[in-house]
Point group: C3
Chain length 291, copies 3
């Protein structure tokens, strides 16, 4: 059996269909790498929410070049970035989208190798791709840049090895159209606000916000699951709701709070849509109150 060539190119965007096909074509014309679609239904025009999803799913992949485009500033003078994270590279507009998944990729790779964390990344500005359009840099800049980064990495990896952080670092350093930069946008999620009473060690409430509502209608918040896990009930914006490990811990149609597979507290309904039941949508504040 043949082995798939390492270093696939993954594709993620908010483009829906059929625009991503143009990106697949451009990439296939420049490289034989495997092309894997991550999603083309990322939150439209919302780099921070898109970064949440990419931070969640990209670390599952083996080393790859991840081309990610959620780009409300397309055609303005915002730069294009290539961010090295371990042996991964994230190619994306300079609007904050790249950094959260890049840190997660670097941390996960370090953790797998050493058992410890670590999220060092190198950020490069991409030059030299002259876009034919002002509205589709996914096709004109990010897809060809991702393909060419991938080819540069593949060329630097000695036959029979898979290539590690060092080879990928060197491959990027050798590309004339990449320039190391220290100044770039970063779409960190806001830290939740923890409220306690009289300096007590246990929080009485944690306030965060809704990052995204997923396709099931689950409301994903910025509050880490550790604040709700193990409790019997919490009050969500004043309303008392059971805490469960999984949906089936409450009857069908009933609301619950769980810790999602991404590690954050979710407001859900078993066999229903949490967003409707809780009346919550992205950007809204959500308070979990205990005791």
């Amino acid at each position: 059996m043949t082995r798939t060539a390492p270093f696939p190119v993954t594709l993620a965007s908010d483009f829906g269909s059929p625009y991503p096909a143009a990106m697949r074509g451009v990439i296939r014309r420049r490289t034989d790498a495997e092309v894997i679609d991550v999603s083309h239904d990322l939150p439209r025009g919302d780099p921070r929410a898109a970064a949440f999803w990419l931070r969640f799913v990209l670390p599952e992949f083996p080393p790859a070049v991840h081309c990610a485009v959620v780009d409300p500033g397309v055609g303005t003078d915002r730069a294009a970035l290539a961010v090295r994270a371990g042996a991964h590279v994230v190619v994306a507009p300079d609007n904050g989208l790249a950094l959260p998944p890049a840190r997660a990729l670097a941390g996960e790779e370090t953790r797998r190798a050493t058992g410890r964390g670590g999220d060092d990344v190198d950020v490069y500005r991409i030059d030299g791709f002259d876009p034919a359009s002002s509205t589709f840099h996914g096709r004109d800049v990010f897809a060809p840049a991702a393909a060419d980064v991938r080819e540069a990495i593949a060329a630097s990896v000695v036959e029979g090895t898979t290539g590690g952080t060092r080879e990928v670092s060197e491959a990027l350093q050798d590309l004339a159209w990449l320039t190391r930069v220290d100044d770039y946008a970063d779409a960190r999620l806001p830290e939740p606000t923890v409220r306690d009473v009289d300096g007590g060690s246990a929080p009485v409430a944690v306030e965060g916000e809704v990052v995204v509502v997923d396709d099931f209608g689950n409301v994903i918040t910025t509050v880490p699951g550790e604040y709700v896990r193990g409790r019997d009930r919490v009050r969500v914006n004043g309303e008392s709701v059971p805490v469960g490990e999984t949906f089936a811990d409450v009857p069908a149609g009933d609301p619950l709070v769980t810790t999602g597979s991404h590690g954050y507290a979710e407001c859900d309904v078993n066999d229903g849509r949490g967003a409707d039941a809780f009346g919550l949508s992205p950007g809204q504040r959500v308070e979990f109150r205990f005791g």
Copy 2:
């Protein structure tokens, strides 16, 4: 030209986007097998309707490991199954989803080889995957199990051969984390009720139910097409409707009954949505009355 390694992994779920990307990443990390998306818009939380679709589309594939997750009971103690069907394997939760496509896969493969039917399957329980989450066993159990089953099969197939039922059977028997079981859920579609009069041999009516409404709005029923095919008109829940071979047998906007490509009677509208015109949705009863 290189040949694609045999035994691709197919992926099907009701997860929408972007959760399936996490599954693709997990699989790609564990195997070089080709990964082919079947659909991630299977009927949400409805293993029986999802099984209908999988029974329809999976038999078109060459031998593969099919990872299918429609799992309203995720995080409960329902088991995970690997079902061998000919040289195919279906990896799915133990909620009925796996068996209808597995029987179809076994039957189709036997028919192709011998000209006769046959739907023997071996059902195994999957153990040994300790899920990190209670709500995303697609990522934590089913994807890695499917990848590892595929690798076990690939390792057992002699270089240059494609691998048949015997090799796949032996590969599964050798896996310590698979245990043969005789007790498992099965989501068979209900048999339609055939009504005749005074013991006459020709039915006067057949009553079934709506399984799914497809993306075109076509209403797919549990009534085999043989009951309607060749007739001029039938009454659908009392309303007389022409029977056609294809949509264009009636003017645009008009209703008709056809036999779909899956072999079942459909209630359709040419260039329109049958579900709207007939007022039918999944789970509802539908009676076809003749003469």
Copy 3:
């Protein structure tokens, strides 16, 4: 690293999900070629609008067999076509869908090779695929025909070369189930109507129509971008609107006219839906008036 076998098969349709999975299975059973999804959300039942999208995205691909199915006449006596365009082949129903992308593929390939245009295509009728269904020729005719065309091309290409127009031409000529035809449907977009005054050389208005509304709500018209590009403002059906290079040239929520990445004038809203703001949908007339 292995090289991907050349001549992938691309798949495009208006089938949504999960019908395309049956086509992927059929193709994978007959060929090891890479299968790349273009889109399965092409404008439903509208070959002309679907042809617009295919003409836009397919020329980005390297030589491939493009299987495209938007087929409101499925099951009638409309033919199936294989259209050679440079070293590409488009397999599609004879309803106009194939010709616009085929001419674009031929022209782009000629332009890349010679710097000049050119859009010569050979049109063949496909016979010999006996469909099992009257409603899913995507599975029964187009997918197997595309796979078999691809295999014929692959067999004719000398090991180590990539195959060019001559090899592809010869491969198609040798297939007994293909017959050259001169009579076929062609879904050309209507030419816009240019209005001037008193024989003046500069147009005072151009009238076209809406081809498609994309997933962002951008209204794409049949009017080439050259008519609006560089202007300060235009009147769209009487309403004065700024012309921009990209969305961010106007404040969020404001309307603008741009030239899309496909080269046609679009009616858009920055961070909003042009279709809603302009009240325009596919098929409607749109007039751009200048000065």
